[in-house]
C-alpha cells in the first residue's frame, strides 16, 4: 500500500525540493520572524517575499503521540508508530517522525534531522541526538 504523499504547490515546492537535495529549509522574513510551513506573507508583519533559509537540522521534542490505530491502510503494518512535534533551534515547529524506538522518546529531548525516502518522496524525519552538549 502506497504511503500518502505530500502535494507540493508552487509555494511549498522549494521545501520538498530542498529535502530531496538533503537539507531542511524554513522561511524567514526581513523582520526576523521564521516559520514553517511555506506562506506568501510573514504572519507577523505581513510583508511578502520571505526568503528560504537552511536549517541546522537540530531541534527538540515538544510532544509526541504513538498511533495504535491506522487511519490509512499504509500505516497498518507500521503500528505502533510515533508522530512528534519538533521545534527547530531556529524557532519553526514541524510534525515529523522520530526514527528511534517509541519508548526512547522523551520530553524536550534534542533531535537531529535524518532525511528518509518513502518511494520518491524525501521526508524530514529526526533521530534522538545523543551527542553530549
Amino acid at each position: 500500500m502506497e504511503m500518502p504523499k505530500p502535494e507540493p504547490t508552487d509555494l511549498s515546492r522549494p521545501y520538498w525540493d530542498a529535502l530531496r537535495e538533503g537539507y531542511l529549509v524554513f522561511q524567514r522574513c526581513r523582520c526576523g520572524n521564521a516559520w514553517l510551513p511555506a506562506r506568501t506573507h510573514c504572519p507577523a508583519c505581513l510583508k511578502p517575499e520571505p526568503r528560504w533559509e537552511r536549517a541546522s537540522g537540530r531541534g527538540r521534542i515538544v510532544s509526541w503521540v504513538v498511533y495504535h490505530t491506522a487511519y490509512h491502510p499504509a500505516f497498518a503494518d507500521k503500528l505502533p508508530y510515533n508522530v512528534a512535534l519538533v521545534q527547530l533551534i531556529e524557532g519553526p515547529r514541524l510534525l515529523t517522525n522520530i526514527v528511534d524506538p517509541n519508548e526512547a522518546l522523551a520530553a524536550d529531548a534534542p533531535v537531529v534531522l535524518k532525511i528518509e525516502w518513502e518511494g520518491d518522496t524525501a521526508l524530514a524525519r529526526f533521530r534522538l541526538d545523543y551527542t553530549p552538549a
Binding site: P6, P37, V65
Partner: protein
C-alpha cells in the same frame, strides 16, 4: 446597557442520541427545533432567525437555508457557521446581538449530525501534507496536548481518568445517554490506546443526533408566556491558529480569554459558579478548561479533580448529564441544554440551589472556545 440577563434561552429540544440510521441532518435539525419550540411553548410563526452550526461530518453549501426551508421559515437573519464545537455558544451570542440590534426577534439555534450511522471520516482525516508522516485524526492533536500537560505539570493518568469517570457516572442514569456504562479507574487503565497517550475512554463518543435552542429577549418571553426562560448572563470567545505547531504553547487554551469576557459581562467570578458543563471532547480539555477558567491554578487541575471534586455532590459538579463522553458526542449543545435544566431546577442530577452555571464549548483541536454563563 449591558445585555446580561436581558436575553433568555426560552426552550431546549433534542432528538434521540446514539445511532439513528436513515435520518439526514436536516431532518434531525427539524426534529430538535420542533421539540425546542414545544418546550418554549411558542409557535414557529414567531421565529424570524435560524442560526445553524455546520454538520461536522458533511459541510454543505448554504446549509442554513436548507434547514430554514425544511422548517418552513423564511428568516430575516441566519446562516451556517463553521467554528467547530465552539459554534453553538457563538451562534447563541450572535442571535442575542442580532435581536438587540433590531435585526430579528426570536431565533432558533440548532445543530445536527449523523457521523455514527453516516460518514465519520472527518475524525480520522489526513492533516494536509503531514499525512506523509502518519499525521491523521482529531484525536492525535489532543494527544499532543495531553502529553505536553503531563510533561509540564506532572499530570497523571489517574487525573485524566477522573474526568472520564465523572462524566460516565453522571451519564449512567441518564435515559437519553448513548453510553450508560459507568467506568472505574481499573477499567480506564486497561482501556485500549487510540493514539497514546489517549485511551478509548479519553475520547468523545461518535454520535448521531440533533439539538436546538429558542432564543429571545426576556421581555418577549414574558409577552409570549414562556414558562421557564433561563437568562443568559454572559458570553465570551477566543480563537487561535489552525495548525497545532503554530501555537506558542500547547497547555493554554483560548478558554482564559473567553471566560474573562463572559465573567466580566456577567459581573461574576469563577468562585460564584455552582455547576459547570465543560466541553469534554477529550479528558484533557476539561482539565485545561478548569485551569483556564480559574477554578484552580495552572497545572493544578489534576489535583483538583482527584477525590471526586467534579462529581455530583463534589465541590464543582461537572457535566451532570454525562457530556460528550457519555450522553452524546454531539459537539456542545447538550451541555447548554443541561445548563438550562440546572438553572430551571429540573436536572436529573440537580445541584441544589444552583444559581450560576458555566458552559464551555470548544472547536477543532482547541482552535476555538466559547463560554456561556446562565442564571436563574
Amino acid at each position: 446597557m449591558s445585555l446580561s440577563g436581558r436575553y433568555v434561552i426560552a426552550g431546549i429540544g433534542h432528538t434521540a442520541f446514539g445511532k439513528l440510521p436513515g435520518q439526514d441532518t436536516v431532518s434531525l435539525n427539524v426534529e430538535a427545533c420542533r421539540h425546542a419550540l414545544a418546550d418554549a411553548c411558542v409557535d414557529k410563526s414567531v421565529v424570524d432567525a435560524v442560526f445553524v452550526k455546520v454538520p461536522t461530518s458533511a459541510h454543505q453549501f448554504m446549509y442554513g437555508q436548507k434547514v430554514a426551508e425544511a422548517l418552513g421559515i423564511t428568516p430575516r437573519m441566519g446562516g451556517c457557521w463553521d467554528q467547530g464545537g465552539a459554534a453553538n455558544i457563538t451562534l447563541l451570542s450572535f442571535a442575542i446581538m442580532a435581536i438587540e440590534a433590531g435585526q430579528c426577534d426570536v431565533a432558533l439555534v440548532c445543530y445536527a449530525d449523523n457521523p455514527r450511522s453516516g460518514n465519520r471520516a472527518v475524525y480520522g482525516r489526513p492533516r494536509g501534507d503531514d499525512a506523509a508522516y502518519g499525521w491523521f485524526s482529531t484525536a492525535a492533536g489532543y494527544g499532543m496536548i495531553h502529553r505536553r500537560h503531563m510533561i509540564e505539570y506532572g499530570t497523571r493518568p489517574e487525573d485524566f481518568a477522573a474526568v472520564a469517570i465523572a462524566s460516565r457516572k453522571h451519564g449512567a442514569g441518564n435515559p437519553s445517554a448513548q453510553l450508560r456504562k459507568p467506568l472505574d479507574l481499573e477499567q480506564y487503565m486497561v482501556s485500549p490506546w487510540v493514539v497514546d497517550p489517549l485511551r478509548k475512554d479519553d475520547c468523545a463518543l461518535v454520535s448521531d443526533g440533533g439539538a436546538a435552542l429558542v432564543v429571545m429577549s426576556a421581555k418577549r418571553a414574558k409577552e409570549l408566556g414562556v414558562a421557564q426562560p433561563v437568562p443568559v448572563l454572559g458570553f465570551g470567545h477566543g480563537q487561535t491558529s489552525f495548525e497545532l505547531p503554530q501555537r506558542a504553547t500547547l497547555t493554554s487554551t483560548e478558554a482564559a480569554r473567553s471566560a474573562h469576557t463572559a465573567f466580566q459581562m456577567a459581573g461574576a467570578k469563577p468562585q460564584d459558579v455552582d455547576v459547570a458543563q465543560l466541553y469534554d471532547c477529550f479528558t484533557v480539555t476539561v482539565l485545561m478548561t478548569l485551569e483556564d477558567y480559574g477554578f484552580c491554578g495552572k497545572g493544578e487541575a489534576g489535583a483538583f479533580v482527584r477525590d471526586g471534586a467534579i462529581e455530583y455532590g463534589g465541590q464543582l459538579p461537572v457535566n451532570t448529564s454525562g457530556g460528550l463522553l457519555s450522553e452524546t458526542g454531539m459537539p456542545g449543545l447538550q451541555l447548554i441544554m443541561e445548563g438550562v435544566r440546572q438553572m430551571r431546577g429540573t436536572a436529573r442530577l440537580q445541584v441544589s440551589g444552583a444559581k450560576l452555571c458555566v458552559v464551555s464549548n470548544q472547536g477543532g483541536t482547541m482552535h476555538t472556545h466559547s463560554t456561556l454563563l446562565l442564571g436563574n
